[in-house]
Symmetry: D2
Subunit: 176 residues, 4 copies
């Protein structure tokens, strides 16, 4: 019987097909580094940053089947990108984003528009550590280092590289 | 048979018991002015700004039973403030915020922390007009006049008074 | 300030366009009788029995705007039938059925297939009184007078007429 | 890159602590046999049949981390039984049951009360093959071999043993 369940990190970012290649490279590196560090990787299961993160997770030497979790908005599991191992076909529309961040021990945001902003705000409300990867634009850029409101003493942890993001996740989860 | 259904405006803001009285007065005035203008008023059904908005709605001469809608997070309808006419006891937790903004024709944000920020972001994603009442602090203050991302050509409409907020809602909904 | 909120009864039944006219007549009569008795009427907001119930509610002399609540599965409020006053555009798919029964003080089932069966079971789980209108077929027919499981001491209350159904709702809600 | 995602089977049954040992043994055997056959096993993540199924899955020689998925009703992942690998902390209350069956390729019901009945009905609505393990009582007993309504040409597949249940799942999923 396991005594410590594998921890899960949700990665949030744009699902747009025209996401800049540099951002997708960062997302790929985050996915791989998270799995290298022993985490499960969760996301919204679709394209753009979500696909890149799952691809990165699959590229880790520590990837095993079941490492990537994708919670998609519809009942159609085939909408999940092919690098998702575990598909939750929620049928909940945007409410799936609440389920995603709620199921994570920590959240990493990469750039992002309104969807990512909602996920950052929800994660904050739910008391999850949030790491904002500063890719130079988007809500992770704008909010890095800030507090969302005063209900928590901490801030969104700013990270400049995928490695720093994973280190920030570990630091947050290992804090007393 | 009705041909045009009554339009609904969701009002978002802090549920905290220590919300400043000046903000509650603004929320009350928004609730009343929305009902004066013929709208149904929806909110998260709980305290703080939510109670003030519903109280204001009840104070309008045009209030009738059924004018205020409160979507609460638990299955306990008795958590709704006493000025809510129609209680949706969602049991959905924070996901009820998605249902709230999705059920509105437009959204008015008043101050607010992470919950209001999530609602603003979700409303933006869902294509709803968003009016940000600038009460000098909170996310409605910070985001008034801005776009959340580039998926829409518009911005959060800034309003300085309750009357201006209702006028902005009407302008947004009556735009071609 | 109201001290006793208006009670809400959810009515469940088939949304199919080919629902037998006799069943639609029963649904219409249930909707009207519930509003005559002072209740708000809630349903899934779409066609078939749902439309008939809302039409009936509108036909009551005691109908006022806001009396009928429809919780539809998508974000498209225009899918609600025209007799729904308050539309909740949930975007939750089938999960909207949970929200529907949870928001009701009691549930009336009229015939029905798998959707109605799920609503009966969910209402039972949530501790709501359930009245099964025996229209000669469907799950309300099959389960009338039965218990769903042993977590509750009562049964689905069998009713043979719309009037008896409303009387059963009142008896259940007024029981000590 | 995987071309065929691992298929998931949801197992539904009572979460009660006083579930008869014989039923828990059946659930354990179903969990193990499903993983032996290559499936991922999903459930509501809590006790009773849910714990037994996950324990059984863990007992399979083919179990690897990530094989068991538990979708719990609250935001508290620690409520998941210790044999759940992947926890979705949905916060959705009973609506999590919709997400559970929607995320499965097929559903196996074992005994069960109102919760299981709702899951059977929802699975039927969503077009999922449903196998009813006849353990002599509960809704899987009562509905085995029946259709829930006429929207589908098939019935709940009756199985008398765990092995037969898994064979029925395979037959259903491999049918043309």
């Amino acid at each position: 019987m396991q005594t410590t369940r594998r921890r899960t990190v949700a990665v949030c970012g744009s699902g747009a097909a025209d996401t800049p290649p540099a951002v997708l490279e960062v997302a790929f590196a985050v996915g791989r580094a998270l799995v290298d560090a022993g985490f499960r990787v969760a996301c919204g299961g679709l394209g753009g940053v979500m696909t890149a993160v799952c691809r990165g997770a699959r590229a880790s030497d520590r990837w095993t089947e079941g490492t990537t979790l994708g919670i998609v908005p519809t009942y159609d599991a085939s909408t999940a990108n092919p690098y998702v191992d575990v598909v939750v076909a929620s049928g909940l529309g945007l409410a799936r984003n609440v389920v995603l961040v709620a199921s994570a021990d920590a959240v990493v945001a990469i750039g992002g528009g309104s969807g990512t902003l909602a996920e950052i705000a929800l994660a904050w409300q739910l008391g999850k550590p949030v790491v904002a990867l500063d890719v130079g634009f988007g809500w992770s850029h704008e909010l890095a280092g800030r507090a969302i409101d005063d209900r928590r003493p901490d801030t969104l942890r700013r990270a400049s590289t995928p490695e720093a993001a994973v280190a920030a996740v570990r630091a947050a989860l290992d804090a007393p």
